[in-house]
């Protein structure tokens, strides 16, 4: 047996090795086991068993040279044992024969020879036939390897609620016959959009930081970036996947500058740009260049291009607002979203003046009556035009609609600034 040491291993070291394996290999091992067992549920159970068995086995015999291979082989053997025991699953016997028992875990394959099927798993977890909350939870659980407890904390629901949501989704995958495969070329644009939307949702859940534990929310952002990296590695020629990764990196690069020492939200023009993460920005710009080489523009690329304009401008007053407004106009044409129009209005106000921005915002009032950012944007523009009484009223409307403490705090500060 190839181990480091061969004697009893410190439980702390075993715990750390298992955490690391969980983080880096869970999704890949689950994806492979799911194909072999034809059941996501069974695969997950077997892999969970393997992680549990590893705690005592690794403490007793030392860390295996190939932890992932050990886990894979052990999970497979556990699944075979379970199938043999389970009378109800007799119908799976042919599968059992095909699968067979593996040699001892220590002789498992090298991780580099294990096929990476995470993309399949990702498409299954993000299938449009599942409810959107289920897609997010399943993706984090199955592909990201987060525990149900971690996911429930991030989304502020109880652990039993989250466990039930995941179980229900897995039941639907099995009963409804949601396939475990990558979509065909014809289906891909549609389905890829669904996967990107889930990753974006995961990121935003962490980024908006409206409630909950800050550390967990930061983890969520990093998890979304990690999954986007997996997607880009597995589908390197999809410009929108590149665009999404670039967008997430750019937004995350600003994380340390978004809040001041007192934990208050700091808006883009007021952020200390030296606290932006340069490495991430450089990487994102390069990703956007790669995406552009495919000449297939999309919403994530445009959003990332806008974020990149900001991220590569050293002083707020040098911002290329005209260019940014043009990018928003492109996004507007693509999405017809009034929220995009609102953002364009902000950019227009910066180079054509607040009156021009305000006239665009006024046209959106009917589309976004209860969107707090419409009212706060309108208030900002009115304030800049010296119409303080109207500005105060708009800030108060925004305050009544805003939910996050950081947003409310900012609006209260604005109200104080105009003496209202």
């Amino acid at each position: 047996m190839v181990t480091r040491g061969g004697q009893r291993t410190d439980p702390v070291a075993v715990g750390a090795a298992l955490d690391s394996a969980h983080r880096s290999d869970w999704g890949r091992l689950l994806a492979l086991l799911t194909r072999q067992l034809h059941s996501l549920d069974m695969a997950e159970e077997a892999l969970q068993d393997a992680f549990t068995l590893a705690v005592t086995a690794w403490q007793r015999s030392g860390l295996p040279a190939q932890p992932a291979a050990w886990l894979l082989t052990t999970a497979r053997n556990r699944a075979v044992e379970r199938l043999r025991r389970d009378r109800v699953l007799r119908s799976k016997l042919p599968l059992l024969l095909h699968l067979g028992m593996e040699p001892g875990p220590e002789e498992g394959p090298e991780m580099s020879t294990i096929p990476d099927l995470r993309l399949r798993l990702l498409f299954t977890c993000c299938h449009p036939a599942l409810a959107i909350e289920s897609r997010v939870a399943l993706t984090l659980r199955c592909v990201g390897g987060l525990t149900t407890a971690e996911i429930s904390r991030a989304f502020l629901v109880s652990e039993p609620t989250m466990a039930a949501r995941i179980t229900r989704a897995k039941k639907k995958i099995a009963a409804a016959g949601i396939p475990y495969r990558e979509p065909s070329d014809a289906e891909l644009p549609d389905r890829l959009g669904g996967v990107l939307a889930v990753l974006y949702l995961v990121f935003n859940e962490g980024y908006s930081a409206s409630t909950g534990d800050v550390a967990i929310r930061r983890d969520l952002c990093e998890e979304a970036i990690r999954l986007a990296r997996v997607l880009v590695a597995l589908a390197p020629d999809e410009p929108e996947a590149l665009g999404l990764l670039a967008l997430l990196l750019l937004q995350h690069a600003r994380r340390d500058a978004r809040f001041d020492g007192a934990g208050r939200l700091v808006l883009l023009p007021d952020q200390d740009r030296t606290r932006w993460e340069r490495g991430a920005i450089v990487e994102a710009v390069a990703l956007l260049g790669r995406a552009a080489s495919h000449a297939r523009l999309g919403g994530y690329q445009l959003q990332a291009a806008i974020a990149a304009r900001h991220a590569t401008t050293d002083r707020a007053e040098d911002t290329d607002w005209r260019g940014i407004a043009a990018l928003y106009a492109g996004l507007e044409a693509l999405t017809s979203s009034p929220i995009v129009t609102l953002n364009r209005a902000v950019a227009v106000a910066e180079y054509e003046g607040p009156a021009a921005g305000l006239s665009i915002v006024e046209g959106l009032a009917a589309d976004l009556p209860s969107y707090h950012l419409l009212h706060s944007t309108r208030a900002d523009l009115l304030r800049r035009l010296g119409r303080d009484a109207e500005a105060a009223a708009a800030y108060r409307t925004a305050l009544a609609l805003a939910r996050s403490p950081a947003d409310r705090d900012l609006l209260l500060r604005r109200l104080a600034e105009i003496g209202a």
């Binding site: 119908s91 299938h127 036939a129 009963a175 409804a176 016959g177 949601i178 396939p179 979509p183 289906e187």
Partner: protein, 123 residues
């Protein structure tokens, strides 16, 4: 796997004879396509829900069947027909469901058939 396509629509909507004829032709062409692909196992159009008769067993477990006039639920959207298809997976089923002719606002519910009680697997 087998999938049941349940077709729902507003049965109070009025159609001209010409629209009726077009709908009939659309379903004829759809059936032919399913047949050519070898996936169809059945399918019918239903009379309006006003022709339905409901039998309900008492909640307390009694063995009577209370017979009443009308469908299971009294809503505007009613079951108007069904198809039964044999498909490899949900994506394949959805591909066919997407092509099913439905009126404006109409909907198709795709339900997987639960195979556990099929004859050859009992006992």
């Amino acid at each position: 796997m087998q999938y049941l396509f349940l077709i729902y629509g507003d049965e109070t909507a009025q159609y001209t004879p010409e629209q009726e004829r077009q709908t009939g032709e659309a379903h004829g062409a759809y059936w032919q396509m399913l047949h050519d692909h070898g996936v169809v196992r059945g399918g019918e159009r239903l009379h309006a829900s006003g022709t339905a008769t409901l039998l309900r067993r008492p909640a307390d477990g009694g063995d009577d069947r209370l017979v009443t006039d009308g469908p299971f639920t009294e809503t505007k959207e009613q079951l108007g027909g069904f198809y039964l298809l044999e498909c490899s997976d949900l994506d394949k089923a959805l591909e066919y469901a997407r092509q099913l002719p439905v009126g404006p606002g109409g909907a198709v519910e795709v339900r997987p058939v639960n195979p556990f009680m099929s004859v050859d697997e009992q006992g």
